[in-house]
């Protein structure tokens, strides 16, 4: 952790993540207004003492909506990534450990799935599953699976030929012991790094699906959906699209910077001078 904080990117990333995560945990409790409450007299206003970030087309307080949407937005990213990383790692570890025929069949199928651009793949799955938050989350997870499988496979492969694994084989340890105690813990680094960076993609794709009307549905305060709902009014009050838009960018940037710093901490060779 100290390594990460010494890196400027890591410092900024950690700072942004602390803000975002505390908004996600505490947001709904500290929000000054009910996120769905209409203030008919003050519609589409800029920031003021009463409404710190302004109001939307119904006079709803943007700060309150933002804080209430934080858990949904962040949980979406974390949940989709966790599912995708979990499924992908299992497939990748199986391929890497099994080797031979199984490995090459799995890899060919993954290559085929990776040949589709990510957002396209997600859109197809969402259409199949139908719109909605949990469907969108599942779609992003499925989209992440082939890429994560490939990364965890190569992590396993790079560990498998190391001396300590060879030593364990020579000692006559069982296969599951070797995989569980020697290979997995040492292959975990690249997987964690990739997962952290992927959270930012997941948040961006989730917001994009919300924006396209295929993810979270009204009256949710998911940030992508907030942008979509306020777009008609963006010229009258830029704040109502800028506030959720910038919030998405800050969240994605936090995970991105933190992931980069994590990568440098895990792999000192890549550390820049």
């Amino acid at each position: 952790m100290r390594e990460i904080l010494r890196n400027p990117a890591g410092l900024v990333g950690s700072f942004l993540l602390v803000i975002v995560l505390s908004a996600a945990v505490l947001g709904p409790f500290v929000a000054p207004y009910d996120p769905q409450q209409f203030h008919a007299a003050s519609r589409l206003q800029g920031p003021s003492a009463a409404f710190w970030l302004g109001t939307d087309q119904y006079g709803r307080d943007l700060l309150s909506r933002l804080l209430n949407g934080a858990p949904a937005t962040v949980l979406f990213g974390l949940g989709a990534t966790a599912l995708g990383v979990g499924a992908g790692s299992i497939i990748g570890v199986i391929a890497g450990v099994a080797g031979g025929r199984v490995d090459s069949i799995i890899m060919r199928v993954l290559d085929g799935l990776l040949a589709m651009p990510e957002l396209l793949f997600t859109l197809l799955i969402v259409t199949f599953l139908g719109g909605g938050t949990s469907q969108a989350m599942l779609a992003v997870a499925v989209t992440f699976t082939p890429g994560m499988a490939r990364i965890s496979r190569s992590a396993v492969l790079s560990v498998r030929t190391r001396d300590y694994v060879q030593a364990a084989i020579a000692r006559g340890e069982s296969r599951s012991w070797i995989v569980g105690r020697e290979v997995l813990p040492n292959a975990l680094g690249p997987i964690i790094v990739e997962a952290t960076i992927r959270v930012s993609f997941a948040i961006m794709i989730g917001a994009t699906l919300g924006f396209l009307g295929l993810g979270a549905q009204p009256p949710s305060t998911e940030w992508g959906l907030m942008v979509a709902e306020a777009r008609q009014f963006m010229f009258r009050n830029p704040w109502c699209v800028a506030v959720p838009g910038v919030a998405i960018a800050i969240t994605a940037m936090g995970f991105n910077l933190f992931g980069d710093a994590l990568r440098d901490a895990f792999d000192p060779r890549r550390r820049r001078i």
């Binding site: 651009p117 199949f128 992508g224 998405i248 994605a252």
Partner: protein, 316 residues
Amino acid sequence: MTLAYVLRRLGAIVVVLAIVTVAVFGITVVLPGNAAMMILGENATPESLAAMERQLGLDRPILTQYLDWVTGVLHGDFGMSLRLSLPVSQVVGDAFRNSLSLAVLALVTVTAVAIPLGVIAALRRGTIWDLMIGLFSYVGTAMPEFVTATLLLIIFASPEWPVLPAGGFVPPSEDFAGYLRHAILPAATLGLILMAHISRQVRSEMSEVLSSDFVRAARLKGIRERRVIWRHALPNSLAPAVAVISLDIGYLLGGIIVVEEIFAWPGLGRLLIYALQNRDLPVIQAVTLLLAVVYALSNLVADLVIAWLDPRVQHA
């Protein structure tokens, strides 16, 4: 570049594309509701549905349908659109041209700007320039296309100060200046993320190369700094940048879906969203396959360019 390497890469692509056709066909088969129901509507009687399914060949085994579809695709026949009553190949062809022109415009401009930016950042490492470029690239990667597009619209297309059109399309053959004016905002939106990636990659490769032994040797030999940078350092740091550009084409193809929808640009992305909303299966299949082919081909080109820049990779 050896012929064997090119052939091996081509072989790999054929395998990948075969898997893609299975995936594309498979996804549209499992989509709820089939083509017959799309044509006749929700209230069709079971008898008329069965008749329509027979007419469309949907009552045949899945494998036969798949092989028929692939045979058609190989002959350039993607079937008829269920909604537009036009051959899919015609609908998709027009959209493809429009998307391609937008994507190429974005990619060329971005590469022309991002590579010099990355080089500057690497040469002035640690200065305010480096910091600004780094900051810009981090912000760029963290903005989803729809946020960038919306912010650009607020700045450049507001009713009070309409510098650029907020959306739409003019064919370049009719009015080239008008076409460009309509293309600027979508291309800029697509470009921002790409620019961020590419300039960051060039910077990190370039700074690595600049501190390598052969650059030091070149400097010690007394070669002028400009020549060291242009002839020794830059070519050696470009191969990884090309790899990133080819990966970015994946983002570009995804981004184009959102950007075309926002700016009402009549390309593949907008067509895809229309087809998805209306369950126009033949169009969904054709667009998906086309995007995957473009992606695979661009990866192939990138691999070949990398092998040409750095002959060592052929033997890896």
